[in-house]
């Protein structure tokens, strides 16, 4: 029930804030912060409860809903979903903190914001595929409005592109879900029942797995369907970029792991090499494009694509270490991606009013606090030891090494991807902060970070470091949740 | 019988086509009347004398005359002779419908066993039976037809009184 509270709080917050007159910005943002904190608290409670009793699924609520199509209202959490609930809570809070100054149509902003968050929570909670899909689609429309109203640049184009990609992805996934319903012979959408009793023939798995995987992976930014991500991230307002990069892309990865791999292990084994290739293309391509971008936000956008490649690569390994790495990377990139977008999109932009790297000069001298925050985030994103990125990427690489189906080139390219990540991160940090300009010799300081910004940065950095130093915080809850998937994979591998 | 049927049918089709194709409205009305009379002939062939008589009385008699009157009372009697009534696509339309007819309808109809319907042989379309059928089992439908006429009347009132101005 506590887990379900996250969804209830989000949707209630959306509807209540939506009806407060837009002028009361103070009331609105306090309420928003309160709601975000409440969801975070609820997810933390779930976390500790799960630690206390490590069973398969907890807090399962199972209500009859639409028997005509074998759908029920069934929610519950395991370690995997709890890690993502916590992530969503963190990003939701920091999103509110980094939109603290937002005044234009604040009530509508937070209405859409929490509708989106509620949908995301719902996906992570659902144990029924129909319910999962409903929440998955609920999350689509608010994204459009957030980007189209509060975004910048080619915002309507980017918003429409994002929505159409998401919708097409979900439509493809829907197709797969209906096939699952009939293919299982069970005529149910119950995820647990399908996992335990669904008997999917091998040909069925071979045919349906790519449909489901691609359908979900479109939202995870899989190459060549990633193009919505950079444009969407760049055009979105900061809080939305944070949510998109931090959480929404994880929806897709979560669907891939829980539904596609979890239910169709044989298909997963068959297609793993292909996914592996696509994943390294994601990594390398994203990193290389990030290297040549001039717009700071595009850099971060493509780095997101690159990092999601690690998630996909981890998924494709199909072994314990790799899947663990993928799950950790989801969390890690959620935190770090959000932090990078927050600093670039809000902290730097509100002071310099530009995102073009060549227009930024002497920032190190003019806003040292911000620079250090970004450098920490950048190092975390590079995967420096001590940060969560290191743990997760290491896991993924070890998993890749252990995956026998992969060609040696996948490992080499993944290593190259890490090098490329190092390169673009360092190059861009240099371009943004340390480049002195001859013509602009001004050293006038920018305003220091506001309290809200400091709090947001601190929160995100805290979690990035905490997971980096003590990964057991997450691995201990992820291990039991990945076990059944690995078991199914072992059975399918015969 | 069969020969008479085909002659009647040919006249009916001819009348209908001419009604559409003719430029002069009065001529068009007369070809509609031709169509109606052929139809009446067909009814006689079907042993439905009463309906044939009704066809003559109502359609050829009143409806036809009504149409002629309507045309006489409106200003433009003949229509615009410069405009071609047949649009350029008529040949294509004719071709397609002809093809459909040949490819779809004719084979289906000729293939199927067309044994005579046993129940139809004791069918007696007398006036009395017709009246009884209408007023007894089909009273509900006749009621709806009454509503249909009301709707037509109301629509006509609106159209007519607005056309005549305030």
């Amino acid at each position: 029930m506590i887990a379900l509270l996250t969804v209830i709080i989000s949707f209630s917050a959306a509807s209540i804030i939506g009806f407060i007159p837009g002028k009361n910005t103070k009331l609105i943002r306090s309420l928003a912060l309160l709601a975000a904190l409440a969801t975070f608290a609820a997810s933390l409670v779930c976390y500790f409860q799960y630690l206390a009793a490590n069973s398969q699924f907890q807090q399962v609520i199972d209500l009859a809903w639409i028997p005509a199509i074998g759908a029920q209202f069934k929610v519950g959490v395991d370690g995997l979903s709890i890690s993502l609930l916590v992530l969503t809570g963190i990003v939701a809070i920091s999103g509110v903190l980094f939109s603290w100054e937002l005044e234009d149509r604040a009530n509508q902003f937070y209405a859409y914001y929490f509708a989106l968050i509620g949908g995301v929570f719902g996906v992570f909670l659902s144990l029924d595929l129909f319910l999962l899909f409903v929440f998955y689609e609920i999350a689509i429309v608010p994204k459009y409005f957030i980007i189209a109203i509060w975004g910048s640049g080619k915002k309507t184009y980017a918003a429409m592109k994002l929505v159409l990609f998401s919708f097409v992805g979900s439509a493809v996934a829907l197709f797969g879900l209906i096939a699952l319903y009939y293919g299982s012979g069970q005529h149910t959408f119950d995820l647990i029942q399908l996992m335990q009793e669904g008997e999917f023939s091998e040909t069925f798995q071979l045919m349906v797995f790519p449909i489901l995987f691609v359908g979900f992976a479109i939202l995870a930014g899989m190459w060549p369907f990633h193009t919505w991500a950079p444009t969407g991230h760049v055009a979105a307002p900061t809080a939305a970029s944070m949510l998109l990069a931090g959480v929404v892309m994880k929806l897709g990865a979560y669907g891939c792991l829980r539904v596609a791999i979890g239910l169709l292990p044989y298909g997963a084994i068959y297609w793993a090499p292909v996914i592996g290739w696509i994943a390294v293309i994601n990594i390398v391509y994203g990193a290389l494009i990030a290297l040549v971008q001039k717009d700071f936000k595009y850099v971060i956008g493509y780095s997101s694509v690159s990092h999601m490649g690690f998630v996909l690569l981890g998924l494709a390994t199909l072994n314990e270490v790799g899947l663990m790495g993928a799950s950790l990377q989801m969390f890690s990139h959620g935190i770090i991606g959000a932090l990078l977008f927050a600093i670039v999109g809000t902290v730097i932009y509100t002071r310099t009013h530009t995102r073009q790297l060549y227009e930024l000069h002497n920032l190190m001298a003019r806003m040292p606090g911000v620079c250090w925050a970004f450098i920490i985030a950048g190092l975390a994103s590079m995967g420096l030891p001590g940060f969560s990125g290191f743990v997760s990427e290491l896991h993924v690489l070890i998993g890749t090494w252990n995956q026998d189906q992969f060609s040696i080139w996948i490992i080499i390219l993944a290593g190259f991807g890490i090098l490329a990540t190092f390169t673009y991160t360092l190059v861009k940090i240099h371009e943004a902060f340390f480049r002195a300009s001859q013509s602009h010799s001004t050293t006038e300081s920018y305003a220091p970070m506001t309290l809200a910004e400091k709090a947001g940065c601190a929160l995100l950095i805290l979690f990035a470091v905490a997971i980096g130093l003590y990964p057991k915080l997450l691995t201990s809850i992820l291990e039991p949740s990945l076990a059944p998937i690995l078991e199914a994979l072992a059975v399918a591998a015969g | 019988m069969t020969v008479a049927f085909y002659i009647m049918a040919a006249i009916a089709v001819l009348g209908a086509v001419m009604a559409i194709a003719l430029r002069n409205v009065v001529h068009a009305v007369f070809s509609v009347l031709l169509f109606f009379s052929a139809l009446a002939g067909l009814f006689i062939l079907l042993l439905a004398e009463f309906i044939a008589v009704v066809q003559v009385l109502v359609y050829i008699g009143s409806v036809g005359i009504l149409m002629l009157f309507a045309i006489m009372l409106t200003t433009k009697v003949t229509g615009d002779p410069t405009r071609k009534l047949l649009s350029r696509g008529w040949a294509w339309g004719g071709l397609v419908s002809g093809a459909l007819l040949l490819a779809f309808l004719v084979p289906l109809i000729t293939q199927s066993k067309s044994e005579s319907n046993s129940q139809l042989s004791n069918f007696n379309p007398s006036v009395k039976d017709l009246g009884l059928t209408l007023m007894d089992p089909y009273f509900a439908s006749v009621g709806v037809i009454a509503l249909l006429l009301t709707a037509g009347l109301i629509a006509a009132v609106v159209a007519a009184s607005s056309a005549s101005g305030e």
Binding site: I69, M160, A171, I178, Y182 | S141, L147, A151, I154, S161
Partner: protein
């Protein structure tokens, strides 16, 4: 004939007819000197009362029928069949008509106030009769009643050239479609020698009817009814009719007449598609119509700037979606068709009503650009409109989503195991999903104008009447409720179909 029985059976209709004549009579005598708006309010009030009393009659009949008492055992050879299902749908039609009357009363096109409402009431009765008809004669007569009333309503603005043009277009094409329908019906009668659906079904199932004739009849019926539901390629009348007729009439054409037509399609084709030897051919034909409707409707809607026209194309596309449930040719298919017809009508009625309200206040036909910034002055209206449009787009948790999902489930469920892509209906569902994505583009485009644009609104703050507001709100609540909890309605339809 049992006349007292007939009286009880048609009691709701008799009440409404009586109400209509009372309204006409008052309008011609007592209200003659009043200004049009007052007359409109009074006549609308009378029509509302008539419809409510009629609805009460329907509810009474419904209770009697579900009670199991034999009050309405006589169906008059299938002319008026009262079952829980038919009565529920007839009640729905009356309810929708109540909405339409509320939306219509603020903007009567000209001085013929009572005629306007009279025709609305008559078309309502036609739809009710069509739903309860299981007899070919009654079927045709009630379709004609609907059509004739709607022709008249479409051309009602006789001083406006486009309204008359739309009316004539609708009339001509509708007349042709009626001819097709009649031809098909006559063949059906010839093949089965039966007028009641029951007898026809029995004749087809037992194989007594020559299959070729049944096929010809069905083909012509598909064409004839395809016109009525505005499915491509028989859709050409729809855009003009929706755009140029009075808006409440367009709403009525898109909602009430759609429900009635789809109900008929299910009743008439359900058994034929399940049992006929020729069902492969027939299904192939309907699939073709369905695909054409989805493609032409959605592609056509993409480039519309007039919202009413856009909704017209979207209604063509929706006819395509609904036909997917019909070709499933199983019980789920029939249920999903009826369910979708209901929720589609609710959403589209709401959308048209909103446009109608805006059009009438704007004094002209609203283009998409005219809605820029509507959220500033009319936030409530914008939210309601968003609900209707998102339901049409099939976004959860609104009912359009579940409706579509159920249609797709039914279609795939008719043959879930396939050996190649062309078997079963996976490919058809794939087309439908793709077209849904296309449709999202134009639906979002409309919503963008309403909710995104920061331009100064062209619309002033709109005062909507209480009746309009209540109507819109109720429709929105229904759209949301049936999306979140569709089980009640689905199970009711399932139980009463079987």
């Amino acid at each position: 004939m049992n006349y007292p029985q007939l009286f009880l059976t048609t009691l709701p209709e008799l009440i409404v007819v009586l109400g209509m004549f009372v309204a006409l009579g008052f309008d011609y005598t007592k209200y003659k000197e009043l200004d049009p708006q007052t007359r409109s309010n009074k006549v609308a009030a009378l029509s509302t009362i008539a419809l409510m009393l009629g609805l009460a009659g329907v509810v009474w009949q419904f209770l009697q029928v579900t009670d199991g008492s034999k009050t309405f055992s006589n169906s008059f050879n299938g002319q008026v069949v009262l079952t829980p299902l038919t009565l529920w749908f007839k009640g729905l039609i009356f309810v929708l008509a109540l909405f339409v009357v509320q939306f219509a009363k603020t903007d009567v096109p000209n001085k013929h106030v009572s005629e306007y409402f009279g025709l609305i009431l008559l078309s309502t009765l036609g739809m009710g009769f069509l739903i309860t008809a299981q007899n070919l004669i009654m079927l045709f007569v009630s379709i004609e009643l609907i059509s004739l009333s709607l022709y008249g309503l479409t051309a009602f603005q006789t001083d406006k050239k486009f309204s008359v043009e739309a009316g004539i277009k609708y009339f001509t094409i509708g007349g042709v479609s009626s001819a097709f329908l009649l031809f098909g019906l006559s063949y059906l009668f010839g093949a089965t020698n039966e007028l009641s659906f029951e007898g026809i079904t029995a004749a087809i199932t037992s194989g007594a009817a020559p299959q070729n004739y049944v096929l010809i009849a069905s083909a012509f019926l598909v064409v004839g009814l395809g016109f009525k539901i505005a499915a491509a390629p028989f859709h050409l009348w729809a855009p003009d009719t929706y755009q140029c007729g009075p808006v409440p009439v367009a709403a009525w054409v898109a909602s009430g007449s759609k429900i009635a037509s789809f109900f008929l399609l299910v009743q008439l084709f359900g058994p034929v598609l399940e049992t006929s030897e020729q069902k492969e051919t027939l299904i192939a034909g309907i699939v073709l119509v369905s695909v054409l409707s989805m493609v032409l409707g959605n592609i056509g809607a993409l480039r519309q700037s007039c919202v009413k026209r856009l909704l017209a194309y979207s209604s063509i596309a929706h006819a395509g979606y609904i036909l997917i449930g019909l070709v499933a040719a199983n019980e789920d298919g029939s249920i999903s068709v009826l369910f979708y017809a209901v929720i589609y009508s609710l959403a589209t009625l709401g959308a048209f009503a909103t446009i109608g309200i805006i059009d009438s206040r704007l004094g002209r036909e609203a283009q998409i650009d005219d809605f820029n910034g509507t959220w500033k002055q009319n936030p409530g209206l914008s939210i309601l409109f968003m609900i209707f449009i998102l339901s049409l787009a099939g976004i959860p948790p609104l009912s359009g989503f579940f409706g579509k999902f159920y249609l797709f489930m039914a279609a795939i469920g008719s043959q879930p195991e396939i050996a190649s892509w062309s078997e079963g209906f996976y490919w058809l569902v794939a087309v439908a999903l793709l077209m849904s994505a296309v449709s999202l583009f134009y639906y979002v485009k409309v919503l963008k104008a309403f909710l995104v644009s920061a331009d100064t609104p062209k619309l002033p703050s709109i005062q909507i009447t209480k009746a309009e507001g209540a109507g819109l709100l109720l429709l929105a609540v229904l759209v949301v409720y049936l999306g979140i909890y569709p089980t009640g309605l689905v199970e009711f339809i399932a139980a009463s179909l079987g």
